[in-house]
Subunit: 154 residues, 2 copies
DNA sequence: CTTAATCCTACCGAAGTGGTAGGATTTGTC
DNA sequence: GACAAATCCTACCACTTCGGTAGGATTAAG
């Protein structure tokens, strides 16, 4: 059930771009240095974001990347889907009834469908802007109180 | 973000045991045949459930397995944790602050914590009994209507 | 003592993860 | 036009996990 580094780094890249864009294009080398990540590996990840239409790029000197939209117009679900492939916890969810002929009688399918829905609902409700502004109440829900105290523990 | 076959088969085994127990112990061979799964592979999975205290087993002839508790006293979260290891979508959630020294300033951590919470809340709210009885309203929430029609599509 | 069952350890091919390497291409600047 | 700095593209690779298989030791009922 882990989100791979592809998805996590993709999000990191977008957050970095949102914070450090402003004027022109931001180079991959700058992002990699700021985030302490391998530039070569980030290259393959940012390529997915670019092909998915989430970025605008400029080649050549002074080139780089920038966000194609405003931070509030990216939701986390689409970012992770682009890099992870799918967020469905089991294959049979992706297109129900197609892959598994036992779908009609499968007693566990509603559970996986419900889990998928819960994950999708949550991730599509959070935007890149929520992350930038640290909207803990939205991300952590009613449990925000216990999370505020966490910072003091260490 | 996929649940592996370990977790899925574990759930299948528990559902099968709940449905086909009644009197004594149920042999692994019977479960494997009913569920059309490899007995040898199921062996390693059921071993985890057994060591985790979810089953009672009897060796020797007429031996097998049976549930250690009532179906309503198993929640799906604990079943998956036992077989999958953890349900956390990223490592830094498992024991916050310990693994990643950047936790205090990590802007994406609240997102992963929120996702973890949403998954955990959902899966721990569903019991084995809900699956047995096909409690679609609980598993699928308010979307149950659209899911009822799904059966007619194919 | 045979048979049917769990238990235990080891192995194994295939796929996915997390990168690295090297070069081709494009673009701004001198 | 040359050079430098950047994206783009393809291939490779070590490691781990996934999804099993194989073979035998142990236990218990008849």
């Amino acid at each position: 059930m882990m989100v791979s580094t592809k998805g996590r780094y993709a999000l990191t890249v977008l957050v970095d771009l949102a914070r450090n864009s402003g004027e022109g294009y931001v180079s991959l080398a700058d992002i990699a240095e700021r985030e302490h990540l391998s530039m070569k590996y980030l290259e393959s990840i940012i390529s997915m974001l670019n092909k998915g239409g989430m970025l605008e790029s400029l080649r050549g000197k002074n080139g780089g990347y920038r966000l194609a939209r405003e931070p509030k117009d990216y939701n986390i679900s689409e970012i992770l889907v682009l890099t992870e492939g799918t967020l469905a916890p089991v294959n049979c969810i992706i297109s129900p009834g197609v892959q598994c002929e036992k779908a009609a009688t499968c007693s566990t399918l509603p559970l996986w469908a419900g889990l998928d829905k819960v994950i999708e609902n949550y991730l599509s409700s959070i935007t890149l802007e929520d992350i930038l502004t640290g909207n803990r109440r939205k991300m952590l829900g009613d449990y925000c109180d216990s999370c505020d105290t966490q910072q003091e523990e260490n």
